[in-house]
């Protein structure tokens, strides 16, 4: 197992390196540069040149890339051109917030999705199944940013039950309860689409398992229905559910980009959107690097969990 994990981690290095080259090239190929973003309508060639010189952007592309990689190996992510602060400070500060939001959503969508999927599979074609399938369809089809605004409208504006945006209250607050109050709406919004996907796939996996011989045997042995479903069927279905959760982890990380904007959640996604529009290359690189690493790790984790659950995959 350790060798397998080691091999997978090594394989991730060229993936991340390749990604950083692609991001670098794309950012260089789209028109506009940080000097222009800083100067706006004052971007005369003369001013642009002055700023580029100050930022070290007057060097050739390969030179810039090599300098960046070289610094990276020393743990230096560089300084953001626009924010004028170390990239690593900014990325780490933002990453914590994204992790909380994405983590909460992942837990929500896993628990709710699996429960709904099981309930739906157990009563296939019954009313429970139909109602769940209906809501799952709505959940999957609803644009999350729209749903977010609807939530804000009702829970924050109409009923004033929950805060509309932010991660902590700007005065007072700052404790766990405050965080949870701010987390409910964005985490739920972000979890809804993923919940639908998890529910659908859980239902399919459960249906397949429930038709198999060992389930009939279990029932024939006289086990209670609960035991048959949770001890036997669900454990077998989990093997095909786990990779879906891995994919959903990627989805909530990606979805965080627009949910963070709607709820003003101070996370990585929102930072990346702004960094791209201001051509803040080093900040984009730093953010993408961290997000990609997490994505690779989560998927590795999902694969390992799957292998541990299913002895056939261990080899």
């Amino acid at each position: 197992m350790t060798a397998y994990i080691g091999k997978r981690l090594l394989a991730a290095i060229p993936v991340i390196l390749g990604l950083s080259i692609i991001v670098f090239l794309v950012m260089k190929l789209i028109p506009g540069d940080p000097a222009q973003a800083l100067l706006g309508s004052y971007a005369t060639p003369e001013n642009v040149e002055r700023i580029n010189r100050a930022l070290g952007l007057d060097r050739s592309w390969p030179e810039q890339y090599v300098i960046w990689i070289g610094n990276l190996l020393h743990g230096d992510f560089g300084r953001s051109y626009i924010l004028n602060r170390p990239v690593l400070d900014e990325v780490l500060e933002r990453f914590g917030a994204t992790l909380i939001l994405a983590g909460a959503s992942l837990v929500l969508c896993s628990v709710l999705g699996i429960l709904a999927g099981i309930a739906s599979a157990v009563r296939q074609f019954g009313w429970t199944d139909r109602i769940i399938t209906f809501f799952v369809l709505i959940g999957i089809s609803m644009p999350a940013f729209f749903l977010g605004l609807v939530f804000i409208l009702f829970f924050a504006v109409q009923w004033r039950l929950l805060p509309a945006s932010g991660m902590y209250a700007v005065y007072g607050g700052g404790d766990l309860l405050d965080l949870l109050r701010h987390l409910i709406l964005p985490a739920t919004t972000l979890a809804i689409v993923a919940t639908g996907v998890v529910a659908r796939l859980t239902r399919a996996a459960m249906l397949e398992v429930l038709r198999q011989d060992f389930i009939r045997t279990a029932r024939a042995k006289g086990l209670t229905e609960n035991k048959v479903i949770y001890r036997h069927a669900f454990r077998a279905a989990l093997v095909s559910i786990i990779p879906v959760l891995g994919i959903q982890a990627g989805f909530v990380l990606g979805g965080a980009v627009y949910i963070e904007t709607v709820f003003q959640w101070p996370g990585l996604g929102q930072m990346l959107v702004k960094a791209v529009s201001t051509r803040d290359l080093l900040l984009v690189q730093g953010g993408v690097l961290v997000a990609a690493t997490v994505y690779v790790l989560v998927n590795l984790l999902a694969d390992v969990a799957q292998a541990m659950l299913d002895p056939r995959l261990k080899a």
């Binding site: 706006g40 004052y42 709607v262």
Partner: protein, 522 residues
Amino acid sequence: MIRKWKGIAPLLLAATALALVSPAMAQTPPNILVIGQIAEPASLDPHVSTAANDFRIAVNLYDGLVRNKPGTLEIEPALATDWTISEDGLEYTFNLRKDVKFHDGTPFNAEAVKFNFDRMLKEDSPYASTGPFPLAFFFSSVKDVSVVDDLTVKFTLNEPFAPFMSNLASPTGLIVSPAAVEKYGKDYGRHPVGTGPFKFEEWQSNTSVVASRNDAYWDGAPELEAVIFRPITDANTRVAEMLSGGIDVLLETPPDNVAQFRNDGNYHVVEAVGPHVWYVMLNAKDGPFADKRVRQAVNYAVNKESLVNDVLQGTADVSSGPIPPAFNWAYNQDVAPYPYDPAKAKELLAEAGAEGAKLTFLVTEGGSGMLDPVPMGTAIQADLAAVGLDVEIKTYEWNTFLSEVNPGLEGKGDMAEMAWMTSDPDTLPFLTLRTAAWPAEGGFNSSYYSNPEVDDLLNKARLSTDPQERGALYKQVQAITHDDAPWLFVANWKQNAVVASSVGNFELQPDFSLVLRDVTKQ
């Protein structure tokens, strides 16, 4: 046991939910003002920063030598009590205010002033590396800053430069604490120290910037105990925060929401003119717009009233030329906007033989001061179609748009949207309408307008230090360019803010800054 849990679980869930939501959302506390801004500031170093959004915070932390008198664009003393300008317009000597201290306790004096300008302007300054300073060119005419005595400082210019005083009153002219720059170096922008009415306390990334009252403020301590700036990027969320009581001041309200707040007794809508011009430049070098009659024709053809009232929902006024009315001393009242007259437009097009001309129109998707560029672009396209002009729109993301338009329109298009916000009436025409400002010369005259008379007037206005004489020259510029129609003149934006009824004395300033020293809150 499990059975019992099953019974209790929903109760527990309900209790948790109640604990989370039951304290009804508190209003913001008295004497603490919470402001919803459009974005997180990039830096609170006023010399590094370029965005109006950042300056709204900076002007409350810092003072400049001079400032704009509240509600106007006229200069009044701030850290300098008075000044003299030499006959030849080359030497400005300022007497500085006594006993002013930076928030870190270090004294404000002539040395500090010199430090600030040397840092921005001298590449060999030991603190040049704490930049870059993108807008330092506002002071590029400064040759030398010298300390006469502790409270007297003298600026020597290369050439007479009348906008110098307005530029000193702009946020780029704010004075930072030398000791703090020395202490924090490149990270100074996150540890700002000034002399202003509020002291910087804390900056939480993308959550808030907090500043507290400076009890020792030279102009009288402000009423408010603290000000909290909250970035809320999404306009709908910003409106929702205002409606749910999470903020007291909402900046840049989307046009569609202004009416809603206007009709609600819990809020006030505050408006002010700003030195903003929104226009469409017309390529005078190649294509149909080389003919003045065609340029005038589009000015008649477009219904500007409908643009500002319907598309912008009354958040702007129709503009008549390159100088906005906010510069009241330089604005020519006698020049009226082109009326909406499609018949006259058709007549002019026929005279010029440009009926049915095909035109390419570069439109941006967003950008600083661009208001609602896509709907505005399509409305203009429709009005021009009504007089028989066939306009093709090309849309670009803002930075891409700038890199298309700034090098010049030749070979790329006939018209392009643009907007400017400036601190002096000189800036916009000087950079965009002179012959010597064609892109090849390093200026922003991307549509190649050229009129020697205008060139002459603009150069003269730069040399004159008498505001009245300068004003008269700009009034002539307005009249001539109105007739020459190098642009389709469209709108001057009115800034707006919505404030909760508990907030008093809140005013927007024509220079787009946000002066909070006199604001109160119950």
